[in-house]
Amino acid sequence: MAVWLRSLRYAAILLAFTTSAYAESDPIGYVKTHAGAAFVDAGGETLEAFPGLALREGDVIRTGDDGRLGLTLLDNTVMSVGPNAELVVEEYLFRPGEGELGLGVRLLRGTMQFISGVIAKLRPEAVKVRTTTGTIGVRGTRFLVKVED
C-alpha cells in the first residue's frame, strides 16, 4: 500500500476516534426551537441549531444579534435564550434509579429563561445556575436571568 494512502487511513481512523468519543456520550436533551443565528458548539464543531439536534454535556449554546433558541433536557428541564447569549451545560447527571442527579448550567452572557425539571424536584441542592459573579440555587421553579458585562 502506498505510504500516502496508509497515512490517509491513519488520519481517518484518528479522526473517527476523536469524534466518536464525543458522539458516543449519551444525549442529555434536544433543541426544540430556534430563530436567527443560533448555534451549538459540540465536540469541536459548530452546528447550526435545528429542532431535534441532540445536546451533550459540555455543549455551548450560542446566539447572534437576531438569535434565540429553546431546549428541553431529558429530566424535563426547559431552557431558552434570547439574542447574544452563551450558555453551557457544564454538568448533567440524570440516573434517578442509581440516585445520581446533578445539573450545572453557566450563562456567560445574554438572557435566559429556566424552568426546573425532575432533577430539581428530586434533589434541589444538586441544581445550580452560575453566572460570572453569582450562583442561583434552584428550589423547583421558573426564573429569568440576564448577564451583561
Partner: protein, 203 residues
Amino acid sequence: MAQRSGMHGGNLLLAALVAGLAVSACAPKSWVVLLPNEDGSTGRIIVSGPEGQAEVAEAGTAASLDTAVPETFDVSRGEIDTTFGDALQAQPSPPAVFRLYFELGGTQLTPESAALLQDVLNEVGARPGADLSIVGHTDTAGAAADNEALGLERAHFVRDRIIAAGLKLDRISTESHGEGNLLVPTADDVSEPRNRRVEIVVR
C-alpha cells in the same frame, strides 16, 4: 409558547419607561427575577454572591448578580417583557405526559387507551424535534421477573406504534419498571388495572 400580554404599543412603551425610571437609580447589569410556575405556584431561588446570599420567594422579585451581596428589587411585567421577550418567545412547550392502560397480562390496550394513542401521535406531530421517554409498568400479579419483561414489552409496543407513524427511533427511549413503580400501591399478586400502564413523556 409563552403567553404574551396583549398590551398596545403605547402602553408597552409607557410601562417600559416607568420601569426604566424605577430601577435606573441602581439598575444592576446582571440580575435574576422569579416568575410564577405554569401551575400558578411560585418556587424559590437562593442567589449567592462572593460575600453573601439572598433568597427570593415572590414572583416579580429580582436579585442582582453583580454585587458582592445580592440586592433584591421589584421588576414590573413591562420590564420583564422588554428585557426577556426573546427568551420567553423561544420557550419550548412544556413536556406532555400520557398514561396508556393495558388489559391483564399482555400488550392489549384498553379501548379508552387505544383511542388516547391518537392524542399521543398528534402531540408528537405538533412538536418539531420531539423526543420521548416510554416507561412500561405492570401490576403485582405474577412473578417480578416476568413483570419486568412484560413492562418492556408494553413500552416496546407503544414505541412501535409511534415509529409506524414516522418518528425517528434515536429520539425514543424505552425502559421497564416492572412491578417496582406502582401507581396504586397494592400487596403482591394483586391484579390492579391502574398499575398496568405505560407512561409516555413527549418533550
